[in-house]
């Protein structure tokens, strides 16, 4: 198999999923790139996680009220779902359509919202925005439940336009006016949840969406230049027609799946890194009737995505660090104790899943890294990569041994870098790693003692690779 096929497939599986073992990368590369993209784009044709086994061994995940169980159950799916893109897309929407447990105060509602992203995240963007506006968690999180015909609350109306669809502006112009925000909020009056919160005196029960016609402002409105007795779904129709929405989605997809862009508030004034790519995605948005899956298909099969220029051009999110490490080393590939502790790790690295810091979401790219989170990332990954009992690490040792009876330090380092990625590192990094390997000389694995030392040195080298700055990119 050609090395470039493996490298490209590894890139696809890192971006359209949470990475993979070398066995899986090779198997997918054999099936072919386009076939793999098609399988990723059609999760319903693929087996899902084995829900019956989860119900048997981890019944606490089912309709769990506690946030911890919902986060754990999601991490389990990131690691184990054969429908990798579905989970990656759910995370994509969670990072844009931010709502958090800190206010919603119900793990179950958060779990329901993430499931909605799985179910609708690759279909029509119009349907997705409608589902979002019918989501009780979101209606509560952004105070639409406090927005009344006689007493307007603009929070959801504003964020729907600013953060969920049009964006503040593009090509230096603004995409909507303050009047549009008010009209948008008026159109969503009466879109409410029941039962009311705080849940005194009876305690918490699941929410449902409830439309209250008496509280809905049914009068004539002018929104983005169009006049009528608009309600929320009409607003969504008008929003979806706007070129700004196509731009917004295209830039978000590029930023999440292809390469780090500047932070979102800078987008009005900062042109995209790759204008041609954005244009291609915008065109697909309209040609396909707002279809997200169609945009993703164009993206993953494009030259700009396959280009070597965008490999490792993204700082991994904490979810990618944690799920990706476990997939590489092959731990928690079945239901077993200990996932609770691991599900807390993204939080230690600055990404409290299901609880984004604000409605604007996490700051991504280099802002994932500070002196606290970098220590957490390095120690988590290097502890796992140095554990030579892990199935994925045993496989790496076997593959290195198969390279020859005796390895030079330089070949050994290159082999390790290849098998954890293939990871691209700077020359100075490679020289430091090689100089370190040289101190103990060539590596053989003929005798049991040699094999044990070979294994030990592999674990040690992988630990140091996990500690490199380059390993922070995916």
């Amino acid at each position: 198999m050609a090395d470039q096929d493996v490298a490209l497939m590894a890139h696809l599986l890192r971006r359209a999923g949470f990475g993979a073992s070398r066995d899986e990368i090779e198997a997918k590369a054999t099936q072919g790139y386009d076939a793999t993209v098609q399988a990723l784009l059609h999760p319903d044709d693929q087996p899902g996680v084995e829900d019956d086994l989860i119900m048997r061994y981890q019944p606490s995940y089912h309709e769990a009220a506690a946030i911890e169980n919902n986060v754990q159950s999601w991490l389990y799916r990131m690691i184990n779902s054969p429908r990798q893109l579905q989970e990656k897309v759910a995370l994509f929407w969670h990072m844009i359509f931010c709502a958090g447990h800190s206010k919603i105060d119900s793990g179950q509602e958060m779990g329901i919202m993430i499931q909605m992203f799985r179910d609708h995240g690759m279909g029509s963007f119009r349907d997705l925005l409608l589902q979002l506006s019918l989501s009780p968690g979101m209606m509560y999180y952004l105070d639409n439940s406090e927005s009344h015909k006689a007493n307007l609350n603009e929070n959801y109306g504003r964020e729907l336009l600013e953060l969920f669809s049009l964006g503040v502006g593009m090509d230096e112009a603004f995409n909507y006016s303050e009047d549009d925000v008010k009209v948008c909020a008026r159109a969503f009056t009466g879109w409410n949840v029941a039962p009311a919160y705080p849940p005194f005196p009876y305690g918490r029960s699941p929410w449902e969406f409830r439309f209250d016609p008496a509280d809905h402002d049914d009068s004539e409105k002018t929104f983005l230049g169009e006049t009528g007795n608009w309600d929320g779904s009409d607003i969504i129709d008008i929003v979806c027609k706007q070129p700004a929405t196509a731009r917004f989605l295209a830039r978000h997809m590029y930023n999440y799946f292809v390469a780090d862009e500047p932070q979102i508030p800078a987008w009005r004034l900062t042109p995209p890194r790759d204008e041609a790519a954005i244009k291609m995605l915008e065109k697909t948005y309209f040609d396909s009737g707002y279809n997200i899956g169609a945009m993703l298909e164009v993206l993953f099969t494009s030259d700009f995505f396959k280009s070597e220029d965008v490999r490792y051009a993204k700082v991994k999110s904490p979810a990618e660090v944690v799920a990706g490490t476990l997939r590489l080393v092959g731990d928690h590939r079945e239901i077993m104790p200990g996932l609770f502790e691991i599900s807390q790790e993204p939080k230690y690295m600055g990404m409290d899943l299901m609880n984004p810091p604000t409605v604007e979401g996490w700051h991504t790219g280099r802002e994932w890294i500070d002196s606290g989170t970098l220590v957490e990332r390095i120690n988590f990954a290097s502890d796992y990569l140095g554990n030579t009992e892990m199935p994925g690490i045993k496989d790496i040792v076997n593959r290195l041994a198969a390279m020859g009876g005796s390895l030079t330090p330089a070949d050994f380092v290159d082999g390790c870098l290849d098998l954890v990625g293939p990871l691209l590192v700077g020359n100075d990094t490679r020289e430091e790693l090689t100089a370190h390997a040289q101190k103990s000389g060539e590596l053989s694995h003929g005798s049991d003692a040699e094999r044990a030392e070979f294994t030990r040195r592999t674990g040690e080298m992988l630990q140091m690779i996990a500690a490199t700055a380059e390993f922070q990119f995916g």
Partner: protein, 378 residues
């Protein structure tokens, strides 16, 4: 403004989960307290009297000693208007001083920035516990977050001291500051160098520490010991922060037993902590602040208590002017709000103002976002 021999230091212990204020500082003569706490009310003869009206939970004996010495400030009815009953949101409000909008910067992150604007000392602020509390978050402020001081560092999973030291040497060289690798890589290299520097310095703290004090083996005991060790090591740390983990004060059920255990641990640990500092003649410049995100419902639920509003906070230290500050919120049913909660009578930012201005000698209003009448307790 207080003057200390060495720069003033703030230690914070967050009692996460929502401590039941009503059973911590008890309105011991109130008939309503008895009415609302049929199961969880503390029997009169077990309450440790503070004054004619108030008393401590029976497990708080060690804290009573600080009270007797005039070194314990008790803040009654502390909270903020329009309470949130969510742990995380309410904690965020205490951390960011932003009750209206969702803030991203912490009040102590801003204080650290004022102490050390260019981030020269990577240990100006240190947190004990995993993950950085929002209180300490601010762009450009390096704060070490230490799960366990004994084992803190980079590449801690490498077996064998010499192997690990070699790996750390390689790490130091790989991350050695250089430019031209690209903006993001350069930034990560600088951050890695900072982290390594912080870890190297912190690692020396336990080695140089001896004490006759034995802390309890709980998370609170060990984290407070780590705070003492770091303070005694003299790294120039000004803010030391830790949290009683796992939302442990969230006593919805079985509160009688749980709450006793929690306060016994916290009270003993506070005593150990100050004994330790005094043993090393290092207490003069330390104030300890303890708070929780909210109090609990006035009525017990038969086994525990549910989320409530205003609560109790404490400050301890040689320069603290002992006393009871603020008013106990009324237990009268007509005075309760939102279905049975105590109304707060003091804004937490009044206490922060005093801590920042009188103790840390910083300008409070840019840090907490406004002017609040300080509670003068120094």
């Amino acid at each position: 403004m207080v003057s200390t021999k060495k720069d003033p230091v703030l230690a914070v212990l967050s009692l996460s989960g929502g401590n039941d204020g009503l059973n911590t500082v008890i309105p011991r003569n109130s008939g309503l307290y008895r009415d609302f706490r049929p199961t969880l009310g503390i029997p009169e003869d077990q309450i440790i009297p503070i004054n004619d009206e108030l008393g401590f939970h029976p497990a708080m004996g060690p804290l009573k000693k600080f009270w007797d010495q005039g070194k314990l400030a008790i803040f009654l009815g502390i909270g903020y208007a329009t309470p949130s009953y969510s742990h995380f949101r309410s904690m965020d409000i205490w951390h960011t001083c932003e009750p209206e909008i969702i803030g991203t910067e912490g009040w102590l992150g801003r204080a650290i920035k004022d102490f050390d604007p260019s981030g020269e000392n990577v240990l100006t602020g240190v947190n004990f516990g995993r993950g950085l509390p929002r209180a300490l978050v601010k762009d450009g402020v390096p704060v070490a977050s230490v799960g366990n001081l004994e084992t803190y560092g980079l590449l801690t999973g490498i077996d064998g001291e010499s192997q690990r030291n070699e790996a750390l040497d390689v790490f130091g060289r790989m991350y050695s500051p250089a430019v031209g690798r690209g903006a993001v890589l350069d930034y990560i290299h600088r951050t890695g160098t900072d982290a390594l520097k912080g870890a190297d310095i912190l690692a020396t703290a336990p080695d140089n520490y001896t004490s006759t004090v034995e802390y309890s083996n709980t998370a609170v005991g060990q984290y407070m010991k780590n705070i003492a060790q770091t303070h005694l090591a003299g790294f120039g740390t000004r803010v030391l922060y830790t949290t009683s983990p796992y939302n442990s004060f969230d006593t919805h059920a079985n509160q009688g037993q749980l709450h006793s255990g929690l306060w016994s641990d916290v009270s003993n640990t506070v005593e150990n902590f100050f004994d330790d500092l005094h043993e090393h003649d290092a207490a003069d410049n330390v104030t300890l602040f303890m708070f929780t995100e909210f109090g609990r419902r006035v009525s017990d639920n038969g086994s525990g208590t549910d989320h409530g509003a205003s609560g109790i906070a404490f400050a301890v230290g040689d320069h603290v002017k002992g006393g009871v500050y603020g008013e106990y919120p009324s237990l009268e049913p007509t005075q309760q709000e939102d279905g049975g909660n105590l109304k707060s009578s003091m804004d937490f930012r009044q206490v922060y103002t005093s801590i920042l201005e009188d103790w840390l000698h910083l300008d409070a209003s840019p840090i907490i976002g406004g002017k609040f009448e300080p509670v003068k307790f120094f």
